[in-house]
């Protein structure tokens, strides 16, 4: 039997000025189960709250209704007050007689009062159906998983580790560093990319809290916020990194050359290799698809071609017998409390564009390829030469928005960094060779960012880059020259430039495999396969799957400073989560009555948070169960449950019906 106390707040004149409080009080006294009614000047004040506490104790109230301002304002204040009187804080209901009544019906006191009475009546009917609710405590694994070893992932990993939590950093490639490692210099400061990145890479390798897993991939993820169980594949390197010292004799002696992925085919690497000199870990892997000995082992009598030599030179020259032909792929199972996804991007495949040569011309290259050409540690040791004949280009044409802002090839978005890196390139080329003349064909020159516009000016004014607004209709080879045909939209005339080198400002595509990963993690991605934040403005590093966070270009194009900030932001969220000893769950979640559940699992289909899983009852029926840690209390499942087996604590069908009925009858 509920004993309800009703407290009607004047809120100074805010409510009392329009609503006749005494009438409301009298009406409230007549309501079922109401045993005490009182009005206060300011219920939310110290005094007001004390009155509530006192009254609850003196009148053994077990339910409280407060007619006052919006529950969005003071619900928590009053819950605390109720709790301090030893009552369960969820046995409280607030009738919003200010925002929804006095403040909007000041023109008709009579009707406002009548409405206030109804609102109190509804609250009383509802609160009678309230149940005691108790938050649950669940433990968590104080350890984070960062997926992706680019600058965003590195930053996130370091920040989490510095905060004192264990971190696993998983990278698919043989080294961390990501795209930033391939850059020569960074805009707008032109400091050398390697010089600022590699120290961070070293920190990762040396950090006591960080476990680095390169050449590895996340296979399976189960569990939930605070308690993820992750299955990681460590691909075989055929090199025992515990023995290996990274002396390098193996990759110097290895006779088998293959085109270097890191240099986009502009240079070669060996089959036992590190992608680039400052790679972390600085220990090689054997590329099994090209290694002679692997081929030798795989060779059979009837297979075509002659038997390859046995080779095994790397093994012979290795001073520490680190080469281990028997090494196998390994599955690593670990538990994590939080996950950061920083899978980054790949450059847009420009061969899509026939008019730019579709990849047929060696002297039509991408921005990243130019970076490799200019990099002192690159294939040409920093000498900018034409891939075709090794001559030094004098006329270089840049084409913007290749794979950006173009619906025809399904890339409506702007890749954000291209305008700036074109400017950077023109400046750097000028530094390499003062005789180089750069032409930049742009659509819009977007230079939002600290010092960016100034930097772009510098490209035009100091480096003398010629900016032409317009698209390129065609590129063709004419002798040694690349003829670039386009139009100068501002002058409104066609232009044709005989270039030595054409650089395409290729945009950003999400990395391969990101969709599969998103599905494993149960996070969503947009039509461009970029991952989706929980809220684009207010929750930029969270996902709708709590405990999983995002960092860097995986979410959408951004430049290095933004990636670093994003990585740190994600780290803060992770640290905030891991610094708790237990996770407290909001008790206003859904709950299933297994007796009523018919096992159609429509709830499972609609739940945006995968908070519903299946269980089999003792009598062998499959029924739905709610994971209270994941449930956000939206009630979507409740409304989708035909058999009425699911209900939502705090907003049960009984409670909402009680409100309707009390109002109508």
């Amino acid at each position: 039997m509920s004993r309800i106390g009703v407290f009607v707040c004047h809120c100074g004149r805010n409510i009392a000025g329009t609503v006749d409080i005494s009438t409301v009080v009298e009406a409230a006294k007549k309501l079922p189960n109401v045993v005490y009614v009182e009005d206060n000047k300011y219920t939310c004040s110290e005094v007001g709250q004390d009155v509530i506490k006192k009254t609850i104790e003196e009148n053994q109230l077990n339910r409280v209704v407060i007619g006052a301002c919006s529950p969005r304002m003071h619900e928590n204040t009053f819950r605390k007050a109720v709790a301090s009187a030893g009552l369960n804080p969820y046995l409280l209901e607030i009738a919003n007689i200010r925002e929804h009544c006095s403040w909007v019906h000041s023109d008709d006191k009579e009707k406002a009062t009548a409405k206030a009475i109804d609102l109190v009546k509804m609250a009383v009917a509802k609160v009678a159906r309230h149940q005691e609710l108790f938050p649950k405590q669940v433990g968590l694994t104080k350890r984070a998983l960062v997926i992706g070893g680019g600058i965003s992932g590195i930053q996130a990993a370091l920040d989490i580790a510095d905060a004192g939590h264990e971190v696993f950093l998983v990278e698919r490639e043989p080294t961390i560093g990501g795209r930033m490692a391939q850059l020569d210099k960074t805009f707008p400061t032109l400091d050398c990319s390697a010089c600022i990145l590699t120290p961070k890479m070293v920190d990762v390798a040396q950090h006591p809290n960080i476990t680095l897993l390169t050449y590895a991939q996340v296979l399976k993820v189960s569990g939930f916020k605070g308690n993820f169980e992750v299955e990681i594949l460590q691909k075989t390197r055929l090199v025992d990194h515990d023995k290996c010292t990274g002396c390098g004799s193996c990759w110097q002696k290895c006779p088998q050359k293959v085109a270097s992925e890191f240099d986009f085919g502009l240079g070669n690497r060996k089959t036992i290799y590190i992608p680039f000199p400052q790679a972390i870990p600085n220990k090689p892997v054997i590329d099994t698809s090209n290694c002679r000995y692997i081929k030798y082992q795989g060779w059979e009598k009837d297979s075509k071609g002659k038997k390859p030599p046995e080779c095994r030179i790397c093994e012979k020259v290795c001073p520490t017998d680190a080469v281990d032909w028997g090494q196998k792929d390994e599955i690593i199972n670990e538990k994590f409390g939080a996950i950061v996804v920083a899978t980054g991007f790949k450059t847009f495949d420009h061969t899509t564009y026939g008019e730019y040569g579709g990849g047929r011309y060696p002297d039509v290259i991408t921005g990243l390829q130019l970076e490799r050409l200019m990099s002192a540690s690159g294939p040409t040791e920093g000498e900018v030469i034409r891939p075709s004949d090794g001559t030094h280009p004098k006329t270089v044409v840049f084409i913007s928005c290749v794979g950006s802002r173009d619906d025809h090839i399904g890339r409506s978005y702007c890749s954000k960094v291209c305008c700036m890196y074109m400017a950077k390139h023109t400046i750097m080329l000028k530094e390499h060779d003062p005789d180089i003349q750069s032409y930049v064909f742009y659509i819009d020159n977007r230079t939002g960012g600290k010092g960016y516009e100034e930097f772009s000016r510098r490209a035009q004014e100091e480096a003398g880059a010629l900016y032409l607004r317009g698209r390129i209709s065609k590129i063709y080879r004419d002798g040694p020259k690349m003829m670039v045909c386009g139009d100068d939209a501002l002058m409104g005339r066609p232009v044709q430039i005989a270039a030595d080198l054409v650089v395409l400002a290729t945009g950003m595509d999400p990395s391969d495999g990101v969709v599969e990963l998103a599905q494993t993690l149960n996070i969503s991605y947009d039509t461009n396969r970029f991952l989706i934040e929980a809220h684009p403005k207010l929750r930029p590093v969270e996902t709708q799957t709590s405990g999983i966070f995002l960092a860097g270009v995986a979410v959408g194009p951004r430049d290095i400073p933004d990636c670093v900030a994003h990585g740190s932001a994600a780290a803060v969220k992770v640290v905030g989560l891991l610094s708790q000893d237990t996770l407290t769950t909001d008790p206003m979640t859904s709950i299933v009555d297994p007796a009523k559940c018919v096992g159609c699992f429509m709830c499972e289909d609609v739940c945006p948070f995968s908070a519903i899983y299946r269980e089999t009852t003792r009598d062998g029926r499959p029924v739905a169960i709610i994971n209270e840690t994941l449930c956000t209390g939206c009630g979507l499942c409740v409304a989708s449950c035909r058999p009425g087996a699911i209900d939502l604590h705090g907003y049960t069908n009984q409670q909402l019906l009680a409100e309707v009925v009390s109002l109508c009858r």
Partner: protein, 290 residues
């Protein structure tokens, strides 16, 4: 008018399945006590298969019994409409495909059935039906049928009802619902109504008052129709069994029409397609909100 050949095939298949132990029971039809109209039959022994018949009085949608019998593998005789019901039940994870052997029968029409009277008029739903071959079966009886017939128009009586004024609609429906005695035969006979506790029987929350009166009856019939929307395959059993002749199918057909127009969904064509109310398109407006 019984087709000897169809009946023989049913009996032979039933005998075979029962004898070799593939199944425990056959859900089929036998002749009723009026000697003219069919009634559901449950055959457990091979020697009883000769009770099985099939003719155009076999109106019952036997899939409604499948949940009762889901413990053991069974065989079931289905018309094309009933076959769609099986897809619905599969889609809603109520039955296991491997436990049901579907004997599908190519069907032209069934006649209006009432005990003790033999009718020759096809049921209205059959007149607008263009699904004469079951969409799912393990064993098909009857030759292929020309399905090229134009897609069925929404039934005339639905469009007629839509055309009425609000006042006339209220008069019509309150007239109908005032007759309802809440015997729940419409629910009991429906393959889609299998909730452990129907919302109408719940005491708390009391969705529907206990009174057997027009407003309560309307609430019951409204929600019955709503709960079936996107799931009703139009077997028309609800209307057939109503002892006070409320045209319940008029509600269900309306809902299926809307489901089709809003979501381009036809219930029971496949068991894979997500239920219309368990899925959405971001950029559909449905005339809601703005």
């Amino acid at each position: 008018m019984m087709d000897k050949n169809i009946v023989k095939q049913i009996r032979d298949k039933a005998k075979e399945l029962l004898s070799n132990g593939t199944i425990k029971c056959v859900l089929g039809y036998e002749t009723g006590t009026d000697g003219m109209n069919a009634r559901p039959a449950f055959i457990y022994e091979p020697e009883d298969v000769d009770r099985l018949i099939f003719d155009n009085t076999c109106t019952h949608n036997l899939s409604t019994y499948l949940r009762d019998k889901r413990e053991n593998p069974v065989a079931i005789v289905v018309k094309p409409c009933d076959a769609r019901a099986i897809n619905v039940l599969l889609g809603e994870r109520q039955i296991e495909r491997e436990k049901v052997f579907i004997i599908g029968i190519v069907c032209q029409e069934v006649v209006q059935v009432s005990w003790g009277e033999l009718s020759h008029d096809a049921q209205m739903r059959c007149k607008i039906c263009n699904q004469h071959t079951p969409v799912i079966y393990d064993f098909l009886i009857g030759g292929p049928v020309d399905e090229s017939a134009p897609k069925a128009e929404p039934p005339a009586n639905v469009t007629a009802m839509e055309g009425k004024s609000s006042g006339d609609k209220v008069d019509f429906w309150s007239g109908q619902f005032s007759k309802c005695v809440r015997c729940y035969a419409c629910r009991a006979v429906c393959m889609g109504c299998y909730c452990t506790v129907c919302f109408v029987d719940m005491l708390d929350p009391e969705w529907v008052g206990i009174k057997i009166a027009t407003p309560e009856n309307q609430m019951w019939n409204t929600i019955r129709a709503f709960h079936l929307s996107g799931r009703c395959i139009g077997c028309g059993e609800c209307a057939r069994v109503c002892p006070v002749n409320i045209p319940l199918d008029l509600l269900n057909m309306k809902m299926e029409k809307e489901v089709g127009e809003h979501f381009e969904f036809v219930s029971g064509l496949s068991s894979e397609e997500p239920a219309p109310l368990a899925s959405f398109l971001k950029d559909e407006s449905l005339g809601i909100g703005e």
